[in-house]
Point group: C2
Chain length 429, copies 2
């Protein structure tokens, strides 16, 4: 008698899962003794279920799945934090195992969900919520647990990595790169969640919660996106031996957990610097393992479905063995978060000024006034209208002092800023 | 009551494990509820046990561990295939779980060991046998099992990767690079197992067995080492957009499993091309996940101990939950191996010739005589004594035809080869 699955959501990822099951069901039984049976498929779109051969067990009401006593594992693939939460909580309350790819849900309601799972002796697996097909949650929850993790740096959003790679390679600006990404299906019509760093914030909240054994939700993650990055920033970075990536970072510090998402200058010899296009990679540093990195395709039907089905197979294997889950919520600690203004790092700051004497000195004075030590300042290019860009690189400074610097620079005569400038890129060691 | 460990072997890796336990024992209990207790430590060197604080439970006889009914998990870290095998088989026969870092043992006696483990309802975990601290066996046995894996390419030997990196970066020859590697502790006094590809052969045998569900032993793996590589090969490769790595490869083909270890030209834009120095990386391609790569430090006390202790903690967690292992041997198939002479790939072939007319034509005729199509031929540099190097790159050719080419070229007048030349480097697509 097989392990009975109820799959909810038949879009890209759900369709990918059904494809895998249709192709490899016999292999799973033959190689691993895992006997999967798709008992019910729920979707708003019956055609999608029918086209995969599951018209017979189709339902448009997820309650038919969570209330079906025969179903062992509920696979939630509709996304979002409303109905998806009802599904996940409802399935757990009914004593079912849950597999989900839902980063937003896990990064906002993870505690509540995992608490209910623990109470019900059920498991919630969510490998696909971060990094598409890249195994990262399983390694963090299993293989690497003998380590105290000190740092996680992730390129976890394919859309922004594609846009930044394109801008760096071809010199086109953000809007044109975004349009190309949209054309190729690498960016949504409304790209906000990706380009403003919200998607990455959810993912690093999940990874940091696991790695540091402390609950971090996505609304606690400071995030900046990539809209303000100009091609000149990428060229300037390259000249200094860096590339610019939208990094999701989480560091264990003496003051607490430092977790944030923002464009970051990454040294060209760092393993993450070679991660281009829509690829994702997560770099993890632990006290025993040292530096390690997990790389792969961060999106798409196949990769995400690979991760979902890995979780499904593992859960099914455990159920067949008659075992209760032995890994639940591991957020045993309550570590403080480092406020963003307390961050200390090096900064790249670029803004446009009139090309006349006195302006450079005035801007340099601002840094000095706030005790921010300047490593280098370069005057780059000649813009339309006879202006130039000033690019400052600081020594290690406090975020709060940098904010004062930015605020003062905005008010200086001869400095030409719109609402958003100066552009700030934090520099990774 | 804790899970009782018997650790055998207190060298680099064993010492690293005891360090991790000493540092993080309370963390394991607090974060994961895993209660480890080192019950016995066995070594030829009591000082090593004493220096880690385990003088009280020291024994020099491993039978004290495998015959101790209280011990739950035996950790075998002495290496080799003789006493180590007695330990592993003895521990399993006594119903104990086994964790080992022993690649040679698993790559030669894996079947026998895993059969006994299955029979005894015990588990043998061996994450540390490949790739040091990099989680790769756990991902292959768990996260990625929804995939049909088509290809594994690994840089799995840090010694040779260090030597090749050094040769490429500094232009020094193999012997000097080896001496430097030995000086830094990155190569053994007798480097044979590393530089001749035996170590890598054991590792790819293990990975291929798991990924393709078919038993492959290390003696079945064709292997060539790096002793014949000259700095000029690395320069020539670079000029053509490649780097040279000692790759361990395993491919699923229509003819069977193609598994081998040899110096390989890797395109510079391949993720493996950026893996330098003693680092390791394993690239895996699956039908759902696409391309993925696992990167990290391939050797050293910390990384290897991280992997061993990951296995120990996972096994302990399962024992505490009262679960029997639900993943045993997965070699359910018996796939044929592709004989090396049937390999089809592109080839780099370099040899020294007298710099006079007729020689180039004579060598070109040899390729033509054996129906090997030449992509390019370059005459490189002027050697001492007025000779030059000819560097041929072929289109896709059969290994058996290439061997005929090499044999004929060795006999040509004007071709200056010692026993080993021409140098052959297979080209990765």
């Amino acid at each position: 008698m097989g392990v009975k699955l109820g799959l909810i959501g038949t879009g890209t990822v759900g369709g990918g899962c059904l494809d895998i099951i249709n192709t490899h069901k016999q292999d799973f039984l033959h190689h691993y003794g895992i006997d999967l049976e798709v008992a019910r498929v729920c979707s708003r779109n019956p055609e999608q279920a029918i086209s995969h051969g599951y018209g017979d067990c189709f339902t448009s009401d997820f309650h038919d799945i969570i209330n079906d006593p025969d179903i062992d594992i509920v696979i939630e693939l509709i996304g979002g934090t409303t109905t998806a939460k009802d599904i996940v909580m409802g399935a757990l309350a009914a004593g079912k195992q849950v597999v989900t790819a839902n980063k937003a849900l896990m990064a906002t309601s993870g505690e509540e969900i995992l608490d209910l799972a623990d109470k019900m002796h059920c498991e919630v697996a969510f490998e696909a919520s971060v990094g598409g097909g890249i195994p990262i949650i399983v390694p963090l929850k299993h293989s690497l647990i003998s380590n105290e993790v000190s740092s996680i740096l992730g390129i976890v959003n394919g859309t922004t990595n594609y846009i930044l790679t394109l801008m760096a390679e071809s010199g086109i600006n953000y809007s044109d790169a975004l349009a190309l990404a949209q054309e190729k299906g690498f960016a949504e019509a409304d790209p906000t969640a990706d380009v403003d760093g919200l998607d990455a914030a959810a993912k690093i909240a999940i990874l940091a919660s696991i790695a540091f054994n402390t609950r971090i939700t996505m609304d606690q993650v400071y995030h900046e996106g990539i809209r303000l990055i100009l091609p000149t920033d990428l060229t300037a970075a390259q000249d200094m031996g860096y590339c610019v990536k939208l990094l999701a970072l989480a560091n264990r510090t003496d003051e607490g957990i430092d977790v944030r998402v923002h464009p970051t200058m990454v040294p060209l010899d760092h393993p993450l610097a070679a991660v281009n296009g829509v690829d994702n990679a997560i770099y993890v540093k632990g006290d025993a393992v040292g530096e390690t990195m997990f790389y792969g395709e961060g999106a798409g039907a196949g990769p995400a479905a690979s991760a979902v089905m890995g979780d499904v197979l593992e859960t099914a294997r455990r159920l067949q063995a008659g075992c209760q889950p032995f890994v639940g919520c591991t957020c045993t600690d309550t570590l403080p978060l480092v406020p963003m203004e307390n961050l200390t790092t090096r900064y790249y700051i670029r803004f446009e000024v009139e090309d006349r004497s006195g302006v450079l000195a005035a801007t340099a004075n601002v840094f000095s006034n706030h005790d921010v030590s300047v490593y280098s300042v370069i005057q780059r290019g000649k813009n339309e209208g006879g202006t130039v860009d000033l690019v400052y690189i600081t020594h290690t400074a406090r975020e709060r002092d940098i904010r004062k610097v930015l605020s003062d620079i905005r008010c200086l005569e001869g400095v030409l800023v719109d609402d958003s400038e100066p552009t700030v890129i934090r520099v990774q060691k």
